[in-house]
Amino acid sequence: MKKVLLILSIFLLLLSCNREDIIEPMPYDNPEIPLNIPHGFPPLNPSVDGNRPTKYGVELGAKLFNEKKISGNNTISCSSCHNQSSAFADNNVQAIGIHGRVGLRNTPPIQNLAFMKFYNWDGNKLTLESQPLVPIITQEEMNSSIMEVIGKLRNGGEYRELFRKAFGDENITPDRIYRSIAQYEYTLISANSKYDKVKRNEGEAFTESEARGYQVFQQKCESCHSTELFTDQSFRNVGFPPNTSTEEAGRARVTGIPADYMSFRVPSLRNAEYTAPYGSFGQFPTLKAVLDYFDNGVLDADNLDPILKENGNRILLIEQEKEDIISFIKTLSDSTFVGK
């Protein structure tokens, strides 16, 4: 008996060398939310597998997405720029953050991100979980720090319960904040536009103009705006007027490769109707302005996209074609997604 006790006490003491006691996760019914993957969409980002959306994870993520406390002076939330009615983008030329500070680039829409391989205009992030820290600490966006955020959330009280439901205990950690926001974003899937309904034979049909637009689109736009996401997720320099900020270099800022200079991720065209202005820093107020620019000819560059180079640095379009393409792009608008 004594021996047993002795061994037991040694064992307990050895355990005491560990820093934290092991807490059994409290069983809680937090079911995984199945992602409805639209037909023909590209494969999921591999990161989704390690962070499957759950009922309470998404609920927490949605609350954090709209939480202004994550900015230094409690004025800016994710949704301040990623506004649902604008397909989770906004309509400013460049993003506007804390104290009215103007960011480097145009706010990209948050939609169908579960299917993307790269995030942001320059693709500097490859997983959604590693993204939320960027706006939190960036001086032109939220100008805070993750521990400052956690301090505020701990004070609230209500968040502890939400973290417990989502993750099993009340611990508010950086990782859990990032993961829950990513889970929420994974559920923002837009695939219920007129285009989708036409494709799914749900009784809708293109108008004549939309049908003509779709044809021209397939000839003149689809080599980049391909797949059901309407982007091939490549980085290209398409000769748009450049952002003159010394901070801007496009994809080259990430890769250090001169051929990537002023290349940007081909944007999805889904819900483009709601996300004006267009271009990496909002160079174009309307879709028509974008098409006019391509028609008139883009700026030359050594690394100008080869497809544009082959076509004399332009995409020739007559006015009727522009009108038709815009009609077609508007069929990609998903009114339920933007809550209209």
Binding site: I10, L12, L13, S16, G256, P258
Partner: protein
């Protein structure tokens, strides 16, 4: 923490077996003490002392004096390409410090803890030019290794894990956070070049993406971390005395390095250099290219025992 748990376990024993003999209690106490000892790390080397690293930032052999555009006191340097330049701000991160004993064994100094093993050398703050390594085991040391910057697996701006280094690097007068890359700036140099004092602003940092610490998974980006190896002119002897090692960081190498000779101009003198291959040219000059050059601008000028 540990004490409380020991008490708890003894009480636990008592409730279960109130007849427990004193000898058993002593044996438990003995186990407790030895367990306590086994919890601490460094008792194998009972005698230890400090080593002070002193960073002397120079242009060739002259210690740099900072100054604004029109400063008459700032140290001016002329590059191999004949460009005159001086600095107004000069900062860099040192981490991943390892000391190599005369017998070749390596003593890592808090290499996985940026709070205890990393610092920002800021030329405008004299106290940052001396970095004291504490509790170094007695012995003779012949070599000294460190990183210019932060190795990828720790370069995540993880405030929860390393609050002190995060705060030191992120202070308003330091600005060594690289927000969009969620990493640290490794070097930050501000200054002026040519006779008309054009602005130079050279920042370096990593943009590698992938699983931290697993280079096979890095799919994009630039790793600006550089591992430096410096052999000491004479052994540093840690014992009754605490040695002081003076490291020269010769910023003449920035433009006139062992690897690259650089001419400053509109394309590379200001932050558009983040962009490019240009940044790597500066990084290789400052921190070596990792193969033929493993010291970059650094050398050890003296070891005082």
């Amino acid at each position: 923490m540990i004490k409380i748990i020991i008490k708890g376990s003894i009480l636990h024993q008592k409730t279960k077996n109130s007849k427990m003999k004193t000898s058993t209690k002593y044996s438990i106490l003995f186990v407790a003490i030895s367990a306590l000892i086994s919890c601490s790390k460094d008792n194998d080397n009972p005698v230890a002392n400090n080593i002070t690293l002193h960073f002397n930032n120079t242009f060739k052999n002259t210690t740099i004096v900072l100054g604004d555009a029109a400063s008459s006191t700032a140290t001016a340097n002329t590059s191999a390409e004949g460009q005159i330049h001086h600095f107004s701000e000069l900062k860099y991160v040192v981490s991943n410090i390892r000391l190599v004993k005369a017998d070749g064994s390596e003593i890592p100094y808090n290499i996985s803890d940026l709070d205890k093993g990393a610092t920002v050398v800021d030329h405008s703050k004299a106290q940052t030019l001396d970095y004291v390594l504490t509790n170094i085991p007695v012995g003779e040391y012949r070599q000294f290794k460190f990183g210019l910057g932060v190795k990828p697996e720790l370069n995540t701006l993880d405030e929860a894990r390393f609050p002190n280094f995060y705060a030191q690097a992120g202070a308003n007068d330091t600005e060594m956070h690289w927000e969009w890359g969620t990493g640290y700036r490794f070097t930050k140099i501000e200054g002026f070049y040519d006779s008309d004092h054009k602005e130079l602003s050279i920042h370096t940092g990593s943009t590698v993406e992938g699983t931290n610490g697993e280079p096979d998974t890095y799919t994009q980006g630039v790793d600006a971390y550089r591992d430096i190896t410096l052999t000491l002119p004479n052994n540093a002897v840690v014992g009754r005395n605490a040695p002081r090692i003076t490291i020269n960081a010769d910023f003449d190498k920035l433009l006139s390095g062992k690897t690259n000779t650089i001419t400053l101009g509109a394309g590379n003198a200001t932050p558009s250099i983040h962009t490019a291959a240009n940044m790597v040219l500066f990084v290789d000059n400052l921190g070596g290219n990792g193969s033929s050059d493993i010291s970059g601008m650094f050398s050890v000028s003296s070891v005082e025992n």
